[in-house]
């Protein structure tokens, strides 16, 4: 596969919605250990809305799909994850412009732009025990989707040992160590879904 179109990204986000629906309990459980026990349920609400919206009025370009998804997350999720994931997808969508098909490399670049925006918005860096610890290695491995999924998973696993410096887990200080960051865990789900959809092509 060398080109992605709007349908591909719609399949991706549909699969994310399924995965988040399936894993909402686990994500909320992770958030209950070092946060406020809402991450899974918030994301499920958001991605349900994304999936429903994409089905009702499917945007025709890859950029429009991501921009729509980003806006929807921003206006339905709330909390920290809503603006962060929303910004990721909105910026990525913007970066893709209006083309009907883009090569894998362009999608990778766009998602890198989105992840950079997450860093700017939240002020977190690699190693702060946030979603970025899964997102950064994942987008670095693109356009190899399978490698990106694996990098995200490993990045999420590696957050277990870290001490949080951003988000509400940082309130716990050293007590935040020993738990996986919920946002990193959900980021891993995003890239697992991307790899699955890519592999299915």
């Amino acid at each position: 596969m060398a080109q992605v179109d709007a349908a591909f990204l719609r399949r991706w986000l549909g699969r994310v919605s399924e995965a988040v629906g399936r894993e909402a309990g686990r994500l909320t459980e992770l958030d209950s250990a070092i946060g406020d026990a809402d991450h899974g349920h918030n994301l499920r609400r958001g991605f349900d809305a994304v999936a429903a919206g994409l089905e009702n009025e499917p945007p025709a370009t890859p950029g429009a799909v991501l921009a729509f998804a980003g806006r929807t997350l921003i206006s339905t999720v709330g909390g920290a994850a809503g603006p962060l994931y929303g910004t990721l997808l909105r910026r990525a969508g913007k970066a893709l412009g209006e083309e009907r098909e883009v090569p894998d490399e362009r999608l990778g670049e766009a998602l890198r732009t989105g992840v950079d925006a997450v860093g700017q918005l939240g002020g977190a860096k690699a190693g702060d025990k946030t979603m970025l610890d899964a997102l950064l290695p994942a987008v670095a491995a693109l356009p190899d989707y399978a490698a990106a999924a694996q990098a995200a998973r490993e990045g999420a696993e590696a957050t277990v040992a870290l001490r949080a410096r951003k988000g509400r887990a940082s309130y716990l200080g050293e007590r935040s160590e020993g738990h996986m960051d919920p946002g990193a865990a959900s980021s891993a789900l995003l890239f697992a879904a991307l790899a699955e959809v890519a592999a299915g092509e």
């Binding site: 918030n42 309130y171 007590r175």
Partner: protein, 330 residues
């Protein structure tokens, strides 16, 4: 965990319907999740908008009314509201003299209110923001998201609300709000965890003989676990924490706040110990509030908030307020 609800997804919407029918002084937009004074927009008055996750009632919706907030935006339980919602609140209460956002310092709240501020400014509304970050249990450093906003929010909303009611312009109201935020310190203790509808049970396990010290209001575990102890020692620790940080040189407003699950009987007894501890440290108390004001669902526990005041702030504290949860004067 049993809850008096119709289902986790409906909790906030149901509560808004219930608020709408309970308080004729409020206008509640259930669909868009915005609670406003029923006489909003008040012309020629700076409008105060706050909001945050639900589960802290009466904060913020219970503080909407003359002398305090113009609007509140409740998010899902423990989840900041979304920008659209905050924007709608701002536009519906804007009386032509700008809007002050009262924001508790959590990543989610800050991001969503900031996005809303951009949108509001696009619509020509002048917006100022005050960040409440009063919780001394959190080290404010590069290694944290900064101090949380908790009980001090009540002081900011009351005092800035009174200044707005008097007709002060946006920069003055915002400046005063920041002064109050800077002068407020809180410290909280949990005897048990709250149960959230989403999780369906307690957000953390607390063994029988232990307490969480330095907790927030979102069912996060605290900074530290200690062996269970009595009200006197809990008061000593809490008072020391806030006073050592604030180092007050003038009279204080004191809020002895219940987290939702501690009986008022116990809270009054705890208040007695807080007052003793303040006296022992030579602190002067000007006004007191004891009750469940900034809660964490059904969490058993309490927090102590102090705010140093001068004559102006004391006058604003005593100014009339007429909201569901705080009401005095006229």
């Amino acid at each position: 965990m049993k809850m008096l609800i119709n289902g986790a997804e409906r909790v906030v919407a149901d509560a808004l319907r219930g608020m709408a029918e309970a308080h004729p002084g409020l206008a509640v937009d259930v669909d868009n999740r915005v609670i406003t004074r029923s006489d909003a927009p008040v012309a020629d008055k700076v409008a105060l908008v706050s909001g945050g996750g639900s589960g802290h009632e009466p904060l913020h919706g219970g503080f909407v009314g003359p002398g305090m907030l113009d609007a509140a935006c409740p998010g899902e339980v423990f989840t900041s509201p979304v920008p659209d919602q905050i924007l709608r609140a701002a536009t519906s209460v804007h009386g032509g003299r700008g809007v002050l956002f009262v924001v508790k310092n959590y990543t989610g709240d800050v991001l969503n209110f900031d996005m809303a501020a951009e949108l509001a400014e696009d619509e020509g509304i002048e917006v100022a923001k005050v960040l409440v970050q009063d919780d001394v249990a959190v080290t404010d450093s590069l290694y944290t998201a900064g101090r949380r906003g908790t009980g001090g929010t009540l002081f900011v909303e009351k005092l800035a609300g009174a200044a707005a009611e008097e007709g002060a312009p946006l920069d003055r109201v915002a400046g005063l709000a920041r002064r109050v935020a800077d002068s407020s310190r809180s410290f909280g203790v949990a005897l048990g965890a709250p149960s959230t509808p989403a999780k369906g049970g307690p957000t953390f396990d607390l063994p029988a003989g232990e307490l969480e010290f330095g907790i927030g209001i979102h069912g996060e575990p605290g900074r530290e676990r200690r062996a269970m102890t009595g009200a006197a020692e809990i008061a000593d620790v809490s008072v020391a924490a806030v006073l050592d940080d604030l180092k007050p040189t003038g009279p204080l407003l004191v809020l002895v706040n219940g987290m939702g699950g501690t009986p008022l009987l116990e809270l009054y007894g705890f208040h007695a110990e807080v007052r003793r501890a303040l006296r022992e440290r030579g602190a002067e108390v000007a006004r007191t509030l004891v009750g469940n004001y900034v809660t964490s669902l059904d969490m058993a526990g309490c927090s102590v908030t102090v705010c140093q005041v001068d004559e102006e702030l004391l006058r604003l504290w005593d100014a009339p307020v007429s909201t569901p949860a705080l009401r005095w004067g006229r």
